[in-house]
Amino acid sequence: MMRNDPIKHVFIWPAVLVVLAISIFPLIYSLTTSFLSYRLIPPIPPRVVWLGNYATLLQEPRFWSALFTTTLIAFIAVGLQYAIGFGVALALNARVPGERLFRVALLLPMLLAPVAVALVARMMFNPTMGPLNQFLSKFGLVNLPFLTNGHWALACIIAVEVWQWTPFVILMMLAGLQTLPEDVYEAAELENASAWQQFWGITFPMMLPISAAVVFIRLIESYKIMDTVFVMTGGGPGVDTETLTLFAYQEGFKKFNLGYTSALSFLFLIAITIIGVTYLALLRPHLEKRR
């Protein structure tokens, strides 16, 4: 087949059309909708408002509150997941007795559906019937307003996120640890390097690329948090625990405000892109040093 053989179009165009149909066109449709004032209920004929939806959103305190809440949950939860996950992975890598059992047991939370986890958590944190407050009551302590106070509710959501997704970090970090070369540690032993020195001088730097990837994946995933919040608090009290996805859900599927929701989705996309690009830019010098 020659380079300019027209037959190449027969092979290329179906693939191009499939890509356009399943990813580009919906995106373009959504972008177009974001420039419209378009409600299904009550039915209002679409009207072009150009950047009106974006301007309204940027002036909407609820949008900024949702962005702040999502960022808070994502950064604190992922930070804790990474710290705990790395620590547990190190312990498991040290081949402690019963390591296989621990490995399977610690991975279980990740296998559960987030909705089920959130339902269990809602019961656990129930102010009167939940075991946590019953436990506190036995020591004469007051019932804590786990899900009815904004700060406590946020803490509970973060705790559930950490509980459920730390196993993912453990899994990835353990896989990374098992690929590290033994000879480097043997050399360090000969130099009488302490365990702490070995960690900061060898393990942590060598694990940096995989750490960067794990944190990046978890950060992006955490920004998409929806089911846990929906079940545990519904975004309340007030809008204290409302995340961007929940806000979009309320606008899109409760109020059927399609234009506004599309604009919100694109702002969400922009926010995640900025965070992702900043994160990678900050890490680049450290990662390049490792090459």
């Binding site: 409600r39 299904l40 209920i41 009550p42 039915p43 209002i44 609820r62 129930n126 102010p127 009167t128 019937m129 019932n143 307003p145 899900l147 009815t148 106070n149 904004g150 519904g234 975004g235 309340g236 009290p237 007030g238 809008v239 204290d240 309320q250 599927f253 409760k254 109020k255 059927f256 405000n257």
Partner: protein, 486 residues
């Protein structure tokens, strides 16, 4: 040959008889027809639909498939299906408040169903108001909903409690006539050390919370001198939710939240019922389910000790026209038709409309609905005259005194002169969402009642402008039973 012919004739005759009997058993015959009904997750309402489905299957040989969705998901699911004009559901069960949003996609009730004994048996509040939209009937009530008051008769009749209450508050302990009395009673019985709290109401966002708040406000904002002005001014469509009547209602609602069990802020109506049936609280407000569940010995610790009454009222009601408090010679009870009772309708896109309306007829017949009304957990409360008139029907679950109070409270509330109708407007969820958000903030003490209500009013006015003020005003007046504005 003759013998064979005789045998064939006999067999044919027997088969014809059998077929005739089968057809007679299925009247009308809907063999092979399967209806799909959208419902909220059971047992509330879904179990009543299943009860109706069994009866309809016996009668017509058709089948009914009840598809259940959690309460918070029901509106989006129905709305998506209706706006897409697909035939996913042959019937939809929903809140009357959603009717304005759904009307363009619903079929009108057949005229033959709009007359007769069963039709006249439906309470006028439903038949003439909640089932009507712009003069037409698109849905049928399958449940009656009005908030009433429930209390523990054992506590209220205890001489020691009565004496102590009178000594402290200066009047007799009895079902409250005003909301101040309601709060006094709650305060009096607030005894956490004994596992007893004052009252239980729903306070959780997404947990039917705002209807409880509306019940408080109805007493001060639903003025008989200016009818239909509880939520909006029916002349201008300006939001009224931040007027002094509503402020008073919210202040008392917040006060009630502090006189409930420690987790009260997380209560939805289900938890309210559990608290009442568990004997945790002395009094409560809510739908009729509370009384039925509390009376059921299988579900309740206070069975046989359940009293009912109308919601408290007020002798001072804010007048949205004069912008002053109107003083009345006596307390005017403030019943509120919270939610307004589940309704069922047939989408235009449905493929089995005739069968679907026939199912509605069976489901809402006095016999089937009467059975559902006395079944705890069915979610069906009285909406027919026969439901409240038939004391015998209720003797299965209530003592005669309990039945008398319960049915009296239901009937008096629905038929009260100043009964407040729930808000029904296109874009209902957009209006109530901001109420839920701001209520959450006010209950958590993050904002003052006035500031929370001002925020609601601002958003309501913005939404009204966005949806079209004239259109919304016409819809609001229709919902409140007012004539169109010239």
């Amino acid at each position: 040959m003759l013998r064979r012919t005789f045998l064939m004739l006999t067999t044919s005759l027997a088969m014809a008889c059998a077929a005739g009997q089968a057809n007679a058993a299925c009247s009308p015959d809907y063999t092979g027809v399967t209806l799909t009904v959208a419902s909220q997750t059971g047992p509330y309402i879904a179990s009543a639909l299943k009860l109706g489905a069994d009866e309809w299957a016996k009668k017509t040989c058709g089948k009914v498939n009840v598809v259940e969705f959690p309460w918070s998901e029901l509106y989006p699911k129905i709305a998506t299906s209706l706006t897409a004009s697909d035939a996913t559901f042959d019937l939809v069960s929903f809140a009357p408040a959603w009717l304005p949003d759904f009307v363009p996609y619903l079929s009108e009730m057949p005229k033959e169903m709009q007359s007769g004994k069963d039709w006249d048996d439906i309470e006028p509040a439903y038949r003439e108001r909640l089932m009507v939209w712009e003069g037409k009937i698109y849905s049928q009530s399958m449940d009656g909903d009005v908030h009433t008051y429930t209390y523990r008769t054992d506590l209220f009749s205890d001489p020691k409690e009565k004496d102590a209450f009178k000594a402290k508050y200066g009047y007799d302990l009895a079902p409250p006539k005003t909301w101040k009395q309601y709060l006094d009673i709650a305060e009096f019985f607030q005894r956490p050390d004994k596992g007893l709290w004052g009252t239980a109401e729903a306070f959780r966002r997404g947990g039917q919370q705002f209807w409880f708040f509306f019940s408080h406000a109805a007493a001060y904002a639903n003025n008989p001198n200016y009818p239909g002005a509880m939520f909006f001014d029916p002349e201008t469509m300006d939001a009224q939710i931040n007027n002094p009547g509503w402020v008073k209602g919210l202040e008392e609602y917040i006060r009630a939240s502090k006189l409930g069990p420690p987790n009260a802020l997380n209560f939805s109506f289900g938890e309210v019922n559990a608290a009442v049936a568990g004997g945790q609280v002395a009094e409560s407000i809510g739908w009729g389910d509370t009384g039925v569940i509390a009376a059921d010995p299988k579900q309740s610790k206070i069975s046989g000790k359940v009293g009912s009454a109308m919601l408290p009222g007020s002798d001072e009601i804010w007048n949205a026209k004069t912008k002053k408090w109107d003083k009345f010679p006596s307390v005017i009870p403030g019943p509120f038709m919270a939610f307004g009772g589940w309704q069922i309708a047939v989408p235009k896109a449905g493929k089995n409309q005739k069968a679907a309306w026939d199912f509605v007829k069976t489901l809402t017949s006095p016999e089937v609905s009467g059975q559902a009304a006395i079944t705890g957990g069915s979610g069906v409360n009285p909406y027919r005259k026969s439901h409240t008139a038939n004391l015998q029907l209720w003797s299965k679950i209530f003592s005669p005194e309990e039945a008398k109070e319960y049915l009296g409270a239901q009937s008096d509330s629905i038929n009260a002169k100043n009964v407040a109708l729930d808000m029904r407007l296109p874009g209902y969820f957009s209006y109530t969402e901001v109420v839920e958000i701001e209520l959450g903030k006010a209950l958590a003490g993050q904002t003052t009642p006035q500031a929370a209500l001002d925020a609601m009013a601002k958003e309501w006015n913005r939404l009204t402008d966005e949806f079209g003020r004239a259109k919304q005003l016409a819809a609001y007046r229709a919902a409140m039973g007012l004539p169109p504005k010239n």
